[in-house]
Amino acid sequence: MNLERVEQIIETYGRDRMNSLPILEDIQREFNYLPRQALELVAKRLGMPQGHVYQLATFFKAFTLSPKGEHQCKVCLGTACHVKGGALILETLEKELKVKAGATTADGKFSIEGVRCLGACALAPIIVIDNQPLGQITADAAVQKIRELAAPKTAPSPAPAPAPASKPAAAVPKRGVDMSAVPPR
């Protein structure tokens, strides 16, 4: 495990308990989960009891203690998406990937989860795959998208390449897509 990277993330924000959430978020983004050693290091550097770091890691939905899939698919189950068939999309994807919501496929490629209102209700029903929002989507189109991602691109690589260690620290998430729906005027 690359603890060096964890140190970098901590130093980006500074050793203050107030920064614990963004630090944990960046660690989650880097490793796809919160490794135990990383949590221990955060506790040590921020001068917090390990239990308090664990509290944060288990309270907030963005954190997981086991690795998430390579591709993360979130299906909005907010009320507006619900009345427009969000649950049906989730069910269809569960069948397609043969895995229950909240879990990761055996090959570690996909994880799916039903999430609370994403705040893009004009685009209902909406799913988000790898932070890319797909609004007003049908169950069939969602399955299609998953199959595209599952298909091997060219030659199948023997193992997923490890994340480059020298990646510059990102204080701001790189991806950002406009999800504000503006009514026609």
Partner: protein
């Protein structure tokens, strides 16, 4: 009533609306200049006189809240709530992503009025673009001298920083948000003391919603009398209504408070899809009680919705047509609240779980004859008995669903009896 010319959403349709240049070219930061030429007390008085009420859901009069700060406190804070999470609500996201400077100008004016030299923006972790836009807006404002030391030569200093949440609905509650800002689990604090007395790190703190702050520059620039002339007796100013669900044109619509719900649905959101009929409408986010098709002539204002047995909440209108399964809606909303309960108060943590158990049984056709009475009794044991309004909000959709669509619930019970 004449067609409403948008004030809060006047900028969002412009190309590059998020850039400081665009904002300045359309009169941006003029209100700040005017506010800095007034005394802080005069700014508070102006906001108080405007009748502006909080847009985050509770609807507390903003100027009155600012007046609650102890005047002799050495350090005061302003916290900006961008943790928009109420299902059905997507107005704050729109302003943050498309017009962040409109909020920032409101933040600076509010901080000046209450004497805060430090403002904290708390934003939902899922709002990737919003986080970027907030950070960029703040950086640009520093460059132009709208933030930092001696803002525009007024002698007033203000620093603003952005803090991301990590996925917890409860952090939209003001005291839970403060806990999270301090780097703790987002569990609400017992009130009183209110944050205006004891807030962030024990200092007096004013917590304000994004849309509320976006109103402030307009009040300063055009005056309290102009603002107070919009809306109804107790609900002043424009409001962004987020319309979603089974309508033809879902979206954000800015209209004066007091606009009838029917007009919002039929005229602006294009009516119900496929020419169907309305079955139920949630008028202000899922924590507010539902209304039936017969009630949609109600004006969308704090006092009129309260009289109709509901609430304005965040102004998130979710329209459900005649094909909607109301048992399933109640089950789904309860499932959401149970999941998002922070677990601190027993009535919410356990009572919610029990309500969900009953609703799941009813939805599967396995409800027992006394289940409806049990649901109501559980709700009575939760509503109003928790630290924060999540517990009460959890009961509203169930209680209103049971009251308005009881026969649907009963029909499910009957199928159980036949088996």
């Amino acid at each position: 009533m004449a067609e409403w010319e948008p004030v809060l959403l006047a900028n969002v349709h412009r190309p590059n609306s998020e850039k400081i240049g665009t904002y300045l070219a359309h009169g941006g930061y003029q209100a700040l200049r005017k506010a800095l030429s007034m005394s802080p007390e005069a700014v508070v008085a102006e906001v108080k006189a405007s009748g502006l009420r909080g847009r985050g859901g509770a609807g507390f009069p903003t100027g009155v809240k600012w007046g609650f700060l102890p005047p002799d406190a050495p350090v005061k804070y302003l916290a900006v709530n961008t943790d928009e999470g109420e299902p059905g609500t997507f107005k704050d996201r729109l302003i943050v992503e498309r017009d962040p400077h409109a909020i920032l100008e409101g933040v600076i004016i509010a901080a000046y009025a209450i004497g805060a030299h430090r403002a904290f923006v708390y934003i939902r972790g899922e709002f990737f673009l919003g986080v970027k836009r907030w950070i960029k807006a703040i950086a640009d404002a520093y460059q132009h001298g709208f933030l930092g030391k001696d803002i525009l030569g007024s002698g007033f200093d203000l620093d603003v920083s952005v803090h991301r949440g990590a996925g917890a609905y409860i952090c939209g509650e003001e005291t839970a948000m403060l806990e999270s800002l301090e780097g703790k689990r987002g569990q609400p604090r017992l009130k009183p003391p209110y944050p205006a007395q004891v807030g962030l790190w024990g200092r007096p703190t004013i917590v304000q919603n994004v849309e509320t702050l976006a109103n402030v520059p307009h009040i300063i620039l055009r005056g309290a009398a102009w603002y107070a002339s919009i809306g109804t007796e107790q609900s002043k100013g424009p409001k962004i209504f987020c319309v979603s669900g089974h309508v033809n044109r879902p979206g954000n619509y800015e209209l004066p408070l007091g606009t009838p719900l029917r007009e919002i649905i039929e005229k602006y959101a294009g009516g119900v899809r496929y020419g169907r009929h309305i079955k139920a409408v949630i008028p202000g986010g899922v924590s507010t009680p539902m209304l039936t098709a017969r009630q949609i002539d109600v004006p969308m204002a704090f006092e009129t919705l309260a009289a109709a047995g509901s609430a304005l909440g965040t102004g998130a209108v979710i329209v459900m047509d005649e094909t909607t399964d109301m048992v399933e809606v109640a089950r789904r909303i309860t499932d959401f609240f149970v999941h998002e309960s922070c677990g601190a108060c027993v009535p919410c943590r356990l009572g919610g779980f029990r309500m969900l158990e009953r609703l799941e049984a009813i939805a599967r056709g396995r409800g027992r004859p006394d289940d409806l009475a049990k649901l109501e009794s559980l709700a009575r044991g939760i509503s109003g008995l928790t630290f924060c309004p999540l517990g009460t909000g959890m009961c509203e959709p169930v209680l209103s669903g049971l009251a308005l669509y009881r026969d649907e619930f009963v029909a499910r019970l009957n199928t159980a009896a036949k088996r």
